[in-house]
């Protein structure tokens, strides 16, 4: 069947609309603030034969861009091999096994078969981040776990809903193994209802245009997305483009982990070869295959945001060389850092490899960490335990069009930070500052964005602080002779004595009492282009606004300012200084 471009465009918009409505329904009805507020969820439509991504909601969390097709593919394969019971109308499978197309255990996937005239036509699936799935620490991010069993309850694909009815026995087992179980029924209902809504909308779309037309359109859209991605790929010079990105440590062994990437263009295809990356690690900074693939896809989508999310867009992208590395961890390696941290370092490797090839498209490295600081303790005034999360942003990389954004959210996320006032309402803490981290931006013709500098004091009761962050040892990479952004810094004051965690960006259960403090300075973004090429007026502006000191203007940017509050450029001295050889 040949389709006119209009019908094709209308069906594409229709499929997108189905997914966007699922996203909206899921967020609005969810209980978990991670889903409802931070949009840590995604909904999509996947092919019946192989799980290939047909369409996915535009507002889904970026890290899920490639995981759900992998998860659905594995489910289909397991059903074919008799490892999982075959689907019937009204069933919904639940799965959170990281090694079966997942991320970390907290990301729980639902998959619902979609039938037309009694035949399985496609799958509707969604992922939602549950606040807890059991394990050693509340929330699941243990910096010192050495096996997945310590991270929480692991579910293979099983039918939580059978012919439209929830299996109360399976649900009871889940509830007996997770914290704050009483509210999970709300998330389960919201997650299932979103898929039901998607089924209604997809049925309406297919009734309207006809099954044959929609089927033909799906195939054509996939082919066209591939064509579009290939056109972009042709803009990249042929040959090898290499980069290395470093993880500070795995949280258990204090050694950096390398991601070695060579991006190789052959014809219209792009191969991402990770050969030589670090072997699987003892601590939780392992990635699983689905997350590694998804990280490459999301990095490419950041570079080419105009290509629709579709299996076709991923077709020309091949990922190799991950076997035997920490980017393809196998059971029982711990994986809680994979979605939040390792994924961002993979994206950084992609950016760093491609920025010389696509200087107008790619930015210098962004802060690239979720900055997870968890505080668990007891509040004597309220007589109850609490777990507080402070996730933080950092500076983005400079780029051809300008400076990096300050305090942007993680590369793989899209969520808003909670207000200080809300945090202080909910937890026994007092913030002493929530400020722009001066001097943190990587210098460059277009400088990076600035990181965040916050400090928290414990007001009441005993507590334990844990950190799962990154970029504490190495700053986000500068590009095209730009400087790196400042690395993150964590300082903990116990009884007035400052200490820095041994792993810099990772630590588990540091005991704190009233009056003790934690200060976190998040990374600045990498600079783009040589700092001495920066317009002196813009350097002076940053000094006038107190973002850099006059000394930094001279040392980092070669700009000499006259004394006084106006921060005026001494042009002659600046020219002379910039012409002086420097290293």
């Amino acid at each position: 069947m040949t389709l006119d471009p209009i019908t094709l465009s209308v069906i594409q918009a229709g499929l997108q609309q189905v997914c966007d409505e699922m996203d909206l329904a899921f967020s609005r009805a969810a209980f978990s603030p991670v889903i409802a507020e931070a949009n840590d969820r995604s909904d999509g439509i996947y092919a019946a034969a192989d799980g290939a991504l047909i369409a996915q909601g535009a507002g889904g969390l970026p890290v899920f861009v490639g995981t759900m097709q992998e998860s659905t593919r594995i489910l289909i394969d397991r059903i074919a091999r008799g490892l999982t019971a075959p689907p019937e109308p009204g069933d919904i499978y639940i799965v959170n096994d990281p090694y079966l197309g997942g991320t970390h255990l907290m990301d729980v996937r639902f998959a619902r078969p979609f039938y037309r005239a009694g035949t399985l036509y496609c799958w509707l699936s969604n992922t939602g981040h549950w606040p807890d799935t059991g394990g050693a620490v509340p929330g699941g991010f243990s910096a010192s776990a050495t096996a997945v069993e310590q991270e929480g309850l692991r579910l293979p694909p099983v039918k939580l809903f059978k012919r439209g009815e929830m299996d109360a026995e399976i649900y009871a087992i889940i509830c007996s193994n997770i914290r704050v179980a009483d509210q999970r029924i709300g998330d389960v209902r919201a997650q299932a209802a979103a898929l039901d809504l998607g089924a209604d909308r997809l049925n309406a779309l297919m009734d309207r245009y006809g099954d044959a037309t929609v089927t033909a359109a799906i195939a054509e859209l996939r082919a066209r997305a591939a064509t579009q991605m290939r056109q972009h790929i042709r803009a990249i010079p042929e040959g090898d483009h290499s980069a290395v990105a470093w993880i500070d440590s795995d949280g258990v062994v204090n050694e950096p982990l390398a991601i070695r990437l060579t991006v190789r263009r052959t014809g219209d295809d792009l191969c991402f070869d990770f050969t030589g990356s670090a072997p699987p690690c003892l601590g939780p900074m392992n990635s699983v295959r689905a997350t590694t693939l998804s990280s490459v896809y999301l990095a490419m989508r950041h570079i080419f945001p105009d290509v629709p999310i579709s299996a076709g867009a991923f077709e020309p992208l091949e990922v190799t060389g991950i076997e035997g590395t920490f980017l393809d961890a196998q059971y029982p390696r711990p994986v809680s850092g994979c979605a939040a941290e390792v994924s961002q370092r993979i994206a950084e490797a992609v950016f760093a490899a491609l920025v010389p090839a696509l200087p107008d498209r790619v930015t210098a490295a962004p802060a690239g960490t979720s900055g997870n600081f968890a505080l668990g303790g007891h509040d004597p005034a309220r007589g109850r335990d609490y777990v507080m999360y402070q996730l933080s942003g950092g500076g983005y990389g400079g780029w051809a069009g300008g400076d990096g954004l300050s305090n942007g959210c993680s590369t793989i996320g899209i969520s808003k930070a909670p207000p200080v006032e809300i945090m202080e309402q909910a937890f026994p803490v007092l913030y002493h500052r929530y400020a722009l981290r001066e001097g943190s931006a990587g210098a460059g013709e277009h400088r990076g964005g600035f990181g965040l500098d916050y400090e928290i004091e414990i007001r009441r009761g005993q507590a334990k602080a844990s950190f799962v962050m990154d970029h504490g040892r190495f700053g986000p990479q500068g590009a095209l002779d730009g400087e790196d952004g400042a690395p993150g810094e964590v300082t903990v004051w116990q009884s007035g004595q400052p200490m820095t965690p041994e792993h810099l960006s990772k630590a588990q259960d540091i005991p704190l009492g009233p009056g003790d403090r934690v200060r976190v300075k998040t990374p600045g973004g990498g600079g783009y282009g040589p700092a001495f090429a920066r317009d002196p007026a813009r350097v002076a502006e940053d000094v006038r606004l107190g973002r850099f000191s006059a000394r930094q203007a001279r040392d980092l940017f070669g700009v000499v300012l006259r004394d006084g509050p106006g921060a005026e450029v001494d042009l002659a001295a600046t020219v002379a200084l910039r012409q002086t050889p420097h290293d």
Partner: protein, 682 residues
Amino acid sequence: MAQDRSGIVAGIDVGGTFTDLVQLDRATGAVRLAKVATTPGNQAFGVMAALGAAGGDLAALDLIVHGTTTTTNAVLERKLSRTGLITTAGFRDVLELGRRTRPQAYGMTGQFTPVIPRDLRLEIPERMDAAGEVVIPLDEAALHAAARTLLDRGCEAVVVHFLHAYANPAHEIRAGEILAPLWPNDHVTLGHAILQESREFERGVTAAVNAAVQPILDRYLTRLRAELSAGGYRRDVLVMTGNGGMVSARQAAREAAKTVMSGPATGVMAAAYTGRVAGIENLITYDMGGTSTDVALIRGAEPAVSSEIEIEYAMPIHVPMVDVRTVGAGGGSIARVTAAGLLQVGPHSAGADPGPICYGRGGKEPTISDANLILGRLDPAKLPSTEVIAPAEVARRFAAPLGLDVTEAAQAVIRMANTHMAGAIRMVSLSLGADPRDFALFAFGGAGPLHAAALARELGVPRVLVPARPGITNAIGCVVADLRHDFVQTINTPVDALPPGRIAGICADHVAEGEALIAGEGVEIRARRHIHSVDMQFTGQTHLLRVPLESPEIDAPDLRARFEAAYFDRFRVRLSDIRAQVVNVNTSVVGVRPALDLSTLIDPAGRKPTLAAAQTGTRRVHFAQGWIETPVYWRDHLPLDAHLQGPAIVEQMDTTILIEPGDSARGDAHGNLILTIGGARP
């Protein structure tokens, strides 16, 4: 309270391009209309020109209600007055750090400029905690010093924004007392006075915007009142606010942030009024202009109001405002073929300059308006063209970049535009918890009535209401709007822990405060309405669901039952084991203004006795069925009770209404046309 002063009422709306006026004499029903060019430098000149064009004696006017974009433009173009911030030590960067976001999900780039630059944001020692207890006392000497520094640095306005001032405003109030004799003018904004809610970024930006537009609005209104007074006008001017109400000009500058989004709200108020009069109280308003389309929801003749509107990336203004959402498609939206060979309409727009190809101002890319022209829906003789381009030439230039036959290309562009807009409207209504099929479409703006029938069919909406004067809807909104004051009190209490009478007590306080404000405005009202609702959630959720209350006297089991019913209605989920919680208690106190007869907006004397007499001719128009020789009517000549069968085109001064084959239209007693959509999709 003054009685019956509003004999002759003038509504004047200043838009981006035109300043519109509608003047109604309630005694005689006489209507005067005027449309003049907006004068961007000083909008007062355009206002005076509109009054002049309408003729009549300013001294005879009883009330002028004014919608202004002075503050809107100031914010969107960042032409703000120099404003300083005095804030809690450690927190001056809150306005610059935002909520850790980026402008789009994909693409690691973005620009953000805070409302107040960093060198004008000063910190002083003081601190409250979340319970409103003093942690660090206010350092009054530091406050003095900060104020002097800001004055030295040339600030005209100042904001005092302290952490947790919503819980205990004592430090902000004391700072206000200290600043009063020190600051050379009235432009001192205290954060808690504008917004009494937690979230320091949103409250701070709202207060900063208020301060930064205050001197601008104040100067403008002072000039306008002087001009009006010189012209003989003796009354106060009322200014439209973003919640669809109005306040006296003397009060407007105090809470200037409330006027920032008043323009779109005004149109929605006109729609609500028109719908109430016409007996169609559930409406989706659809205002399609040159570059974008505004969409809002009206239930039971009440526009949906939100206190959480972000008017652009990282620019939240959290005061109650009519919830108007903007969709990036308008008549000037450009059609392009993407690299994947798919047709895409918008978000790029040709705007008014160069505009569509058919305007002859150098526009080269095909737009929605060009497609409408090619398909015979627009009359080439009525375009605002500078250079006339032959229709065949428009067609050639239009189709070339799209690689399709001309008619096919035009059809495709309209279809894509309608699919895109319908999808956006569906998302807006769903996000507000409404199924578009339960609503009628209220079509206005220059291009709205041209697309409304097709959109209604796409959305499954059964009816479309086209008001008498779609092109001056905002000015009409000024004359029909009510006095309105909105109140929100956050209580965050589980339903089963609510003391009896708690909600009723809060509502009573709201009503007393609102009544006092309305009495102070000195404007004639014919009735008072008190609208109560609660925002609820299941304990542990973050999103809220609004539950209307017919009466504030409600007991806990009833409240719980209503919430569960509303929740099931919305999400098809029952959660009977989880506690429900009341987060906010809301009251709107409305002073209902005297009713106005809208039927005279089209001069009754001009109406012809028969449909045939109102017909101006026929032209070939393209529909899904192909080219059809279609009758064309002049709106002002239609009999009041006209009944038209599609296909038909109705033209009027400021818009064109398309009635498609299978649809029909009927005039009502108020001068509206009600389209019935044949075969609207379920």
